[in-house]
Amino acid sequence: MKTAEHDVLVIGAGGAGLRAAIEASAAGVSVGLVTKSLLGKAHTVMAEGGIAAALANVDERDDWKTHFADTMRGGQYVNNPTMAELHAREAPARVRELEAWGAVFDRTPDQRILQRNFGGHKYPRLAHVGDRTGLEMIRTLQDHGIHLGIDVQMECTVTRLLTDGNRVIGAFAYEREQGRFRLFRASSVVLATGGIGRAFRITSNSWEYTGDGHALAYEAGADLIDMEYVQFHPTGMVWPPSVRGILVTEGVRGEGGVLRNSEGRRFMFDDIPDLYRTQTADDEEEGWRYTQGDKEARRPPELLTRDHVARCIVREIREGRGSPHGGVFLDIAWIRERLKDSESHIRRKLPSMYHQFMELAGIDITKEPMEVGPTTHYVMGGVRVDGETQMSAVDGLFAAGECAGGLHGANRLGGNSLSDLLVFGKRAGEHAARFARANPRSAPDGAEREQVAAAEQDALAPLERQEAGGSGVGAYQIQSELQDLMQTRVGIVRNQEEIEEGLEGVLALRDRADSVAASGNRAYNPGWHTALDLPNLLLVSEAVARTAAERKESRGAHFREDYPAKSERWGKTTLVVRKGSGGGMELAEEAVTSPRDDLLRIIEENR
């Protein structure tokens, strides 16, 4: 078996993985980087709206404290306060660093990095490049990284972490191309594998988002937290059916786009949560002024947090005021009433949205409203890490980016993911390098051989079942059933009965997944790959369902129609998921970390 040895192995080449690899490499250790797809194709490339950082280029009142307070409020105060603080403090430097590496952000009139408004951010805070910010970010990191001597293995999927007691010692993977197995030995490992969105039917996420990092960490003995918090983005495409779920950036609303129901009413004005009442515009006029940069104006209700906007949309649809294809209307074309050159303005500010609707739905967004509805987008939950070092409960195992939990609490603000990737990608890389230096991996032992043999066996099982002529079910079938189940039972609006049905369903699918078979051979075989991703997807689905059933309140992205209010008891509780000694999934309640006094004061001052 082809074997590689590195000080630090980074799994995942999105923003978080690339940033971690760059940092570790800069620290002078040897770095390996593996990714399931080609370099530059990870989810990060799809991000549209921008990177949140309190640069204060557009509104000089902004600072890290306000960003911190916004992040905590958006997360409903169950965030890891250390992470929220470091994130807000360090994001500006991380964005400037991208410029030093060649990124070309849109500019302010005084030639600095331009920033735009986004939901839940008090000031215009998102550094951006039109609506293709993720592309700019991943390409900048990629082009910087390829000159640093990082050993990149593309199209290679890790299926198991190797451990020695409570210490990570490497990873087992297969090459997608030929199906050959690979062994990576490493002194420390950074997980940067992204999210779990493939567990749901309607999603903005690609085939890659099968919760691999979550599952790898769980199996290795790390804790997962906050798994009940899955973000449904309020605006995904709803028509035609084949594009259902594809994201429509919040940038549309940031640029003045409004939501209307079938009666033409701006329904977002109908329900404004208490936490945000003082920050929200009184009328349409004030809202418009805000989007055009009037510093005296407050934000329109379309720019409330995603969890809230998504639920309002669901309410309109359920109560029969939806659009023809089961969404609501998102209208940016209306700004022609206010701006002379509105058409070219829209095309310049939202080029890829223009393109996307024109080519996929035949709709010209400069002239007509779009139809939109909620789509699964992001998982706040993830591997529990130390807020400063990003190390998990397993020695030498780090996590950063979407697969790590804590920063976003119960709901992530738009733009706070790209900044998360940079801030904590860097930290993870730095500390993984430090750990590797201080604790070099000792020679391989029998334990490694055993684990590798078991991993090989698991990986080959679906192909062997097919050869044995078993009446195996296909992986696509099970994945599809799982997506329907999670979408309908553990989706945006939840209740005890449905979640429990969902959980039972997941467990039943897991039994059937044991007999999944894949036809064909090992060379670039998507059926086989899907079969190998399936256990991860089932595991994270189980974690989401179990925690959602447990949390008997509504908070952020977790909405329970049977417990629609927030509860004080649950506001103090974090749900932790880990593998129990008997092999089954265990749930534990732990106290939410309370912020330091100075941070509490900042939160108070920004109420």
Binding site: R107, V129, L360
Partner: protein, 248 residues
């Protein structure tokens, strides 16, 4: 719902390969990639295809559809003639790995050899730079590239003449142009362009520009200006004399 017929290229690496016929039901709004996925789920579980975003943003799903280099996720079924089968083949300028998936690793190697971004010292005390939007517009056009490599696929210098060792292809002229025209960059790539990167092989057929899904005007905005810079530097006698005299 109407059933449509597809001829999809099936082959293992190193094999001859050939088209296989499939049919599947097409509903409103479907794109070619949807049809391929449906065929995969219904009757060809091991049909190899790359994709990620399904929205024209990642550049993974490049293929030749009815002979035209396209992103499968941005090609609507309703735009293809209904009276004939849809043919789907891998990009032909790259070695086949399997079915619709090709080995594009050469592109990643080429990029490594291009001199990286080297900014001038920061303009402001706080380590930041000042750039005008007008001056970055041009570079931003090039930076829209999603690395789908469709332009590389159609360029005859690569596809027919196989000059992979002497010519970096339109994608990397776009990349080089983005660096050369970056307001902050101070590196000099002209000698490389002329020699190792073979900009002279391009005879401005504009095939690359025609297929670019990001509508980057590759030839006019990137390649021709680069060619002009090379000519100015290496073939302009007056300039050369000036350089010799001034020592610059």
């Amino acid at each position: 719902m109407a059933s449509r017929t597809f001829h999809i290229w099936r082959a293992e690496a190193g094999e001859e390969g050939g088209f296989q016929e499939y049919s599947t039901d097409i509903t409103e709004g479907m794109v070619v990639l949807d049809a391929v996925h449906q065929i995969q789920a219904e009757s060809a579980g091991d049909l190899a295809v790359r994709w990620n975003c399904k929205a024209g943003k990642c550049g993974s799903c490049s293929a030749e559809v009815n002979g035209n280099p396209r992103l499968m996720c941005m090609t609507r079924m309703s735009d293809l003639p209904e009276d004939q089968p849809v043919t789907i083949e891998p990009m032909r300028a790259f070695p086949l790995l399997r079915d619709l998936v090709t080995d594009v690793s050469w592109n990643f190697e080429v990029k490594k050899a291009i001199r990286k971004f080297k900014p001038r010292p920061p303009d402001a005390e706080d380590g930041t730079w000042r750039m005008d939007q007008r001056d970055v517009d041009r570079v931003q056009e090039f930076r829209k590239c999603i690395e789908c490599f469709l332009c590389q696929d159609v360029c005859h210098v690569l596809r027919d003449s196989q000059k992979h060792d002497e010519f970096i292809g339109p994608r990397f002229f776009v990349h080089t142009a983005a660096l050369e025209m970056h307001p902050l960059d101070t590196e000099d790539r002209l000698a490389d362009l002329r020699k190792a990167q073979g900009v002279g092989y391009c005879n401005i057929t504009k095939c690359c520009t025609k297929v670019c899904p990001e509508h980057i005007t590759i030839t006019d905005n990137a390649i021709i200006p680069l060619k002009e810079r090379v000519v100015d530097r290496f073939y302009d006698p007056v300039r050369n004399l000036f350089r010799i005299i001034s020592g610059r």
